[in-house]
């Protein structure tokens, strides 16, 4: 066999920080602030509903697009929370996590040569999924001075005749940035004028601490050119259930459903039954978790101020993104030294795009007690670095 593997797949860049994570996984006694999933268990009544569905013997496939009850509840939820309406039958699909929705969304939209605008720093799968779908990724480097929000000017400057899709990843992993209504209105104007499509990854929509999350699909003239991706992993602490969804114009959802049907068949049945319960009776749990994250967020920002570590105030997800440029190290060097000397793992910003250089992603999906220990060590480390660099504190 001369050419065993797909050239396209072989050419995909492996994660730039694989080496760093190899060290993390070998260091058993390290405290990790690197995890990107909630520390809460799925609320019990939701788990219970999953268990009940198993007891009842609901172990069959669901329809390809997902349980009707769940899709109806999703439509109610989106109307209630974000004032956007979808037809459950034609405009929704249940997927295996938000990540599947990203993949099949791009595959349904792209033709060879189509350019996909990807704001970075952002979740790692947009770029490879674009390439696998035959598109060409075009990176928009977001800036700290804009609190890592996408501006209309940045968007306009990146658009060419080949631009087809903008990925809109807010609230953002890894920066914690959000887009407020006025930010969205500004970019929506450009999107409509230049006639491009939006894949809006709103998986962190429940974790927004300044104002309720606004979906771009709710803005005038945007519903017909947006696929909204969301899911249960972050807001409802259901990562392991692998359940997400996409809502958008029927013609796009129809094609996405085709790919989903051939590649996946349907999302896990147990998870779908549990998710119905999450949407019907989960608001209080989400509120409780959001409050807890917000308290930790405030604690971290305060601690950074105290130790003199610059960090813009992020209002979303469960990440903070402090800047470590002043120490004259790369993000990976900083993270590696911090891990070796203080046994705390944080993720170098460069894991999420080159423009993440100079930053660290610190997750606060950890109890305050754990955060305190880790922050004590970070403070000690920063102090040591400042002394080494001959700076006064």
């Amino acid at each position: 066999m001369r050419n065993l593997l797909s050239d396209k797949v072989v050419a995909l860049k492996p994660s730039g920080i694989r080496k760093f994570f190899d060290i993390v996984s070998e260091m058993k006694d390290a405290i990790s602030l690197g995890v990107g999933e909630p520390d809460f268990d799925t609320p019990w009544h939701i788990r219970d509903e999953g268990i009940y569905s198993l007891e009842k013997g609901r172990t069959f496939y669901t329809s390809n697009s997902g349980l009707k009850d769940l899709r109806v509840e999703i439509c109610r939820y989106l109307k209630r929370k974000m004032d956007v309406e979808y037809d459950w039958k034609k405009e929704t699909i249940i997927t295996v996590g938000g990540s599947e929705a990203i993949d099949i969304g791009l595959r349904a939209l792209l033709n060879p040569g189509d350019e996909v605008l990807i704001p970075q720093p952002s979740y790692v799968s947009y770029e490879p999924c674009t390439i696998l779908a035959g598109g060409t990724p075009v990176i928009i480097e977001l800036k700290e001075e804009n609190e890592f929000r996408l501006t209309a000017e940045e968007l306009k400057a990146a658009i060419t005749d080949q631009t087809k899709v903008l990925i809109l990843p807010f609230p953002n992993n890894p920066t914690g940035a959000i887009m407020e209504r006025h930010n969205l209105e500004a970019v929506a104007e450009v999107i409509r004028e230049k006639d491009i499509f939006v894949l809006s990854d709103e998986i962190y929509s429940e974790l927004s601490y300044k104002e309720d999350h606004v979906t771009i699909a709710a803005l005038p003239g945007m519903r017909e050119r947006t696929v909204v991706i969301n899911g249960f992993s972050k807001g409802f602490a259901m990562t392991g259930w692998r359940l997400g969804y996409a809502c958008g114009p029927a013609e796009v959802i129809e094609q996405m459903t085709k790919i989903h049907q051939y590649a996946i068949m349907c999302a896990p049945t147990t998870s779908q039954y549990a998710a119905v319960e999450a949407l019907r009776n989960g608001d209080e749990d989400v509120q409780m978790m959001r409050d807890a994250y917000n308290q930790r967020r405030r604690y971290l920002l305060h601690a950074f101020r105290e130790m003199g570590l610059p960090c813009f105030e992020p209002y979303g997800a469960f990440y903070v993104f402090p800047c470590i440029r002043e120490f004259g190290m790369t993000s990976e060097e900083f993270a590696t030294r911090f891990l070796e000397e203080e046994k705390v793992a944080v993720v170098p910003g460069t894991a999420f795009g080159e423009c993440g250089e100079g930053f660290l992603r610190i997750s606060y999906a950890y109890s305050l007690e754990n955060l305190k220990v880790a922050i004590g060590r970070l403070s000690r480390f920063v102090e040591r670095l400042k002394k080494e660099n001959g700076k006064s504190i």
Binding site: I17, S25, Y123, V124
Partner: protein, 160 residues
């Protein structure tokens, strides 16, 4: 702010007030004043520690006692409740709806000590009609906290 403070100190009364102010995003002075006001008003009645006595060498026996009583004219149940809660070995006294009137929780050194309390002190009170004593065999969860096990972080490392 009051509700938020109470939610937090109910779970962790040892949190220091400057930290409490930070995580709630308010001024420390306001937290101090609010806490003082709540103590003054009797909203906050004490700061206790949740102890799993089973993990110590110290012997403790706890019981729940259902008490049926005759309410007194003009006093209702208050007088008899007071008579009962004044005993230092009594932990809690609740007025209950349903098949009996008062629920008394009790802590003693031994089964015998509790039995003596019930037969000598409680049952002999004039308005007490009957009692039913239930001994607690094991505490699984108390004050919203699971006592038996410490939860480990089992999340796995994955490369994003």
């Amino acid at each position: 702010m009051r509700e938020k403070i109470l939610q937090i100190v109910e779970k962790n009364s040892r949190i220091n007030l400057s930290e409490l102010a930070v995580i709630l995003g308010v001024e420390e002075e306001d937290v101090i004043n609010e806490m003082a006001a709540m103590e003054e008003e009797g909203v906050i009645c004490g700061y206790h520690t949740l102890i799993d006595w089973e993990k110590t060498e110290i012997e403790k026996v706890s019981a729940l006692i259902e008490v049926r009583v005759t309410p007194q004219r003009g006093q209702g149940f208050d007088n008899i409740a007071e008579r009962i809660y004044k005993y230092p070995e009594v932990n809690a006294v609740y007025l209950i709806s349903g098949g009996y009137d008062l629920l008394v929780t009790l802590e003693g050194k031994s089964l015998k000590e509790i039995a003596t309390f019930v037969s000598d002190k409680l049952s002999t009170l004039e308005s007490v009609l009957s009692t039913a004593t239930h001994f607690i065999l094991k505490k699984y969860k108390d004050h919203g906290t699971v006592l038996s096990r410490k939860k480990k972080d089992e999340r796995e490392i994955y490369i994003p």
